[in-house]
Symmetry: D2
Subunit: 423 residues, 4 copies
């Protein structure tokens, strides 16, 4: 088997976990049944850079059942489940290159292993795979340009921001379907998935009582909204920090306190960053924090907390419990950072619940089919997932829950498309 | 004074009310101060078809201070505050044509009175004014076409739907700024304003305990979301009916029960329609409802509850208290309809709080200025309010609340626009 | 008819309102049907000092149907509904002494009118009636002591505090059933009733947007909890002030900010007092408040806001809209007080919803029956309502809602009463 | 060292964990500092049967610092943290008898080991220790009666029910302080602690999305209220089952659906029992459940789910992931039971957060001091913790959070104790 995994012996543990995930992803299941019959990816190679978890495994199987050769590497060194990787490679025939806690070198070597196979379709989560292709292309100045995939999908807000910035510079080399922008992805995954799993990560790492704490959420996008609502639902007093006046005002109207981070830093017991930006909790904040303040990040990259600075200025650093690092500052105060500032829901918990990934990955799978059908018709742009896929996913989900909804009557449809009727 | 109002003697009561509203609209106040100096609408005529309330009065004054001749008629016969209208006409010199409870004839006569003045800018709320212009234009087949305004604004979802339907048919005659689509409008007005005032309307009309009731919300758009959240916040058990799978799924994930109206009809104690569509509660639903079920509408038009059918099939109809009509069905069960099925927040309460209208109307005022500045540059399309106006409004609001937010550092801005940095 | 009411012509309006209330009080209805048959109060005189509202009317009818002569006076001068009083007297034969906005003199004259009839049972709400009896008794030092009732009921926390203070001094002259202490009263009436109607009062008086406001709740008893939860449910950022460490901690754990009033005074946009104590918002607080802060009281007496001081130090006082008084301070800031600092849910709205009073008043009615049955067996103490009455009321309410619950199996009952079974 | 633990080598891991807990229990810390100076338990033996966790370790140290000899055994075989036990014995000199997953025999042998030391004070959690003493006493019919402790404390609702049942039979042999009944215990531990940790247990075991699920809470006591609120806060649609009409009505008014278990069984996705009773989810319920329904218990004993019956009727039983047992029924449907039906927050998560145990155990420690001070003055009854202890604990907690509250003015105190002042 073409793969690079931690330990083959983990495969049976992995298989059990994958089966558990499969049982909880009814939407992808329905897509898989369809793909199994129709083989929409027959003969194609799909290269994916995603968190190597049980839910991703379910997507991998779906692509394979659709007829594709599937290669997977990790989109985050800390999120790889080694047992899942083992089973995926050995039980299911997916070419996996991922080892938990791999160093940066290995991380990019694994991306390379996927690219070697010259995939027609790439799936990305944070845009590291697609960025690598672009960097190589631009470097290979006069020489032979690498073959480019037909199109890619992108799973995250962070990745979409990076790719749109490429597009803006006029340098995006091939089309991207922003799966993240599907309503059934970002409205659900970000809000419900990140919302729950972020708090899950904080609680698993610390077993801290959320009730009665001042919980600072940095960023009030969909992820931040999800975290804030759930934190309040668990009894926290939520404070929101924002740079965008619209989102800040929305947070105020939703009943939260809004203030600059500099002020929030003095009040917070727990800090959660979900901004997609760099150094959101930084050197001016650490010294004014309360003793035993706890900081976690749930944004894609581990740049939101300025840990480098924290490390530099701390007089003592030690791990007080797994994934909880204690920094003692000069002023004697202690600050805890969870999961090294990496995505707390993956580092300290199990990432999004399968139920949520079910929606995202059904979008991923259907987007791959769409890429094949649209071959040659897409420009080098970042596209939103077509609405028809979005609705399909939502309908399959409702169906799987046994929930029925209304349909418009003829009269109602006519009314909605008329402009004459008024008061 | 060129006006048609109920009673001039109401003016001093109206003045007091307008002053109260003015004191609660700090964003519009800031815009008014600016307009007073800069006179951006100097020499122009503005024709507005809006709910004639104290908040609208604040907008009218702003337009007048900006240099315009301002004519106002009602966008809903039941929402006119006669005292406000009197003061607006007599104290503030606005040409008002609006009488509470006017008949349909008078309603359209009043629209006509505004159109007589040949406004360069129209403001609309539900698109009755703009539709009237369009109907006349199309009727005046071979004859002399009426002068068209430069552009219009539109305040509501309902109106935007009507106007986009016109645009789709290729028949929109002049540009429209969909104020409704401003984030500071629809995210705030619909969710927070309609949310609160709808329940306020139900409570004022009935003094019913919301806690422990099954409250059915038909439609899970921004208005429906606002109503559902607040109803839950007041202790209701909320059920959502939807025709859109995405919104239905969102409602499920937000913790509400979702089911077809046919089923909800059997369970609900209170029904609130906010769909923008026709006959949402209709003849198949009434007979299966619980005894003493209560129905209210908070959608723009009074078509969401099929009152005609209810009236026809009821064996007895009477008003049991102001704005509460009791229908006794053949099966002996009693059904109550509030405010004749018209917008319950206006019919039974005082409409949106001034704080919310402050945002919407600041958008309206700034959009009028934008129309002047963009003269000749807009196509015959429905435009979203420019983002810059949206942010301006949000920032002015935060400022008025004494709330400060973060700003991006240079490093953060650079990070957000870069695509190279990854894991 | 032996009565003192505002205007007999109001009776038909009152009747309609009473019927509306009757239709919404299914528990009391079931009690009334029973009393009608069994006549448990036959030949007795009942004197009640309660808010003269439509729901109280339903209680009055119940007592009359039970065979009693019923005399009613107001427990709050501002809460009397004159039309209800008229109908009660003229349509239903209840002896009513209550006029809205009556002066203090008339208020106590009306209490006297009730006492003239020498009731065997008194019903009180705030303990003004029972206190009057006590004051007279103690004054009539050597002279002839007045006849004392068999027992009284008391509806409010405030009244219970006053009566227990009497009991503590050893001077309580006859037994009192603290209806307030019934679970189906204070857990429901205070939390759900006061919770909703207090915010209803604030909104009706001001139409203020609750979302995004800093709302300070003074007192975190059951009323305060109800107000705080609903305010949060409407989007407010709630701050709690308390003097009791346990309740303060509970508020913290429920996710609210807790701070001394002196600090809250600087932050709040809306203040609601529900403490049962005096001068909770007082002279040290007014000058530090934000401009246009809004103060309302929902505690029983109008002593919680120190209006006397406010009036004295204000440079200008005027009513800006009905029930909203504007005080301009020396520092130019404006403060609004709602409903003269009297119970805002009664002064500015319609008091508790009938659905809530249904529970309280079913307790009242069943407690009257209990007083008769327990004649001679009760000591001069404040008693909680017997649990059996409490459960009866809860069961009748669930029944009226069509809600079924589980019952313990024999095995479960046995298990609960065993102490041997363990790990 | 007199102890029976799993593995001495675990002690350093245990020590780290205990230190983490100590850093999060500021109230107990303040009590410990006081006890260290005053030695209130000098020369006494304390025997405790509690969950052997890091928080219990903090209590053990406190008792030891107070001068006592301390012996600890487990109150639940599955909750023992073997590393904590090791450190407690070897680093801190506590005599510990507890091994995770010990069989019933060992469990009672360990209780016996504690009783051998003839403690003057016992601490219990579920009443197994105290019941054992009682059983022995009653068995030792004619022979020599064992020495009885001076008094005991009891931590749980379940234990208090058992002990009150003993008291009712007139057979309680020595006084018990129901620590559970302290407000700072049951209002906090049950609601906030069980609330959070129960959902934490479910999520850790399954990583299931709570949003959008039908979550059935059996029992609406303080634990049930805590679970229901937090489940709703995480986006669940909560259904409550109850046998008590008052609590059922409270659940309805809080916005939850209430129905008999038989009906809820058909609808629920997740079931959580917190009743303190037996077979709450039982044989009539399993067959009608949805496929893949998930059942967890958060009541003290593992009797709430009738697993024996489930096991008997299932056609296949297997562990699909750690602590998740899958039962396949004859009707092909699958049911999952978490943590063998034992306390899910201990079996699948880490039990109550330290912040919550801090309050409970401060009550425990202060109650031990109280037992010494009250020696000879208590009857053989179950007593509530004295209010003064309760307030002390709440005040220390607020202090540790830096939260200040108001104090009554002289005027306010006078007002509260007066009965004359009225309207």
């Amino acid at each position: 088997m073409n793969c690079d995994i931690k330990d083959k012996n983990l495969k049976s543990a992995g298989k059990k976990r994958i089966e558990w995930a499969l049982s909880r992803m009814p939407v992808l299941e329905q897509v898989r049944q369809k793909f199994k019959k129709e083989k929409p990816l027959k003969g194609l190679t799909v290269g994916a850079c995603l968190h190597i978890t049980t839910e991703t495994a379910a997507l991998a199987l779906t692509l394979k059942e659709a007829g594709a050769r599937a290669l997977f590497c990790a989109s985050n060194p800390l999120s790889t489940q080694d047992d899942t990787a083992a089973s995926l490679a050995l039980d299911y025939g997916i070419e996996v290159f991922a080892i938990n806690n791999e160093d940066n070198n290995t991380y990019y070597k694994h991306i390379d292993a996927v690219l070697q196979a010259k995939p027609q379709i790439t799936l990305d989560d944070g845009a590291d795979l697609v960025s690598t292709i672009h960097k190589r292309f631009f470097k290979s100045a006069s020489g032979k340009k690498p073959d480019l995939p037909w199109a890619s999908t992108e799973e995250t807000t962070t990745g979409v921001i990076r790719l749109k910035s490429l597009q803006k510079e006029g340098r995006l080399l091939y089309p991207v379907i922003a799966v993240n922008d599907a309503y059934t992805k970002h409205l659900f995954d970000n809000r419900y998935g990140t919302g729950q799993s972020t708090l899950d990560g904080v609680i698993r790492a610390t077993n801290r009582l959320i009730s009665g704490s001042n919980l600072v959420v940095c960023g009030y996008g969909w992820c931040g909204k999800g975290v804030a609502r759930r934190a309040q639902g668990l009894g926290a007093n939520v404070i929101v920090c924002e740079v965008d006046a619209l989102k800040a005002l929305e947070a105020v109207m939703d009943g939260f306190r809004v203030m600059p981070m500099k002020e929030a830093a003095r009040i917070g017991d727990i800090f959660i960053t979900v901004t997609g930006d760099i150094n959101v909790v930084s050197k001016s904040h650490f010294p004014v924090m309360k003793n035993r303040a706890l900081i976690a990040n749930s944004g894609h990259f581990d740049v939101e907390i300025d840990i480098r600075n924290l490390k530099k200025t701390a007089v003592k650093v030690r791990e007080v419990k797994p994934l909880v690092k204690e920094y003692t500052l000069k002023n004697k105060k202690i600050i805890y950072v969870l999961g090294e500032g990496r995505l707390v829901n993956l580092a300290c918990a199990e990432g999004h619940p399968a139920e949520v990934m079910d929606l995202s990955f059904a979008n991923q799978a259907l987007s791959c089919e769409y890429i094949v059908k649209s071959k040659g018709k897409l420009q080098n742009k970042v596209y939103k997932v077509p609405d028809s896929i979005d609705f399909k996913v939502a309908s399959l989900k409702l169906k799987s829950m046994g929930i029925k909804i209304d349909t418009l009557t003829t009269e109602q449809k006519a009314y909605l498309s008329a402009w004459q009727e008024g008061t």
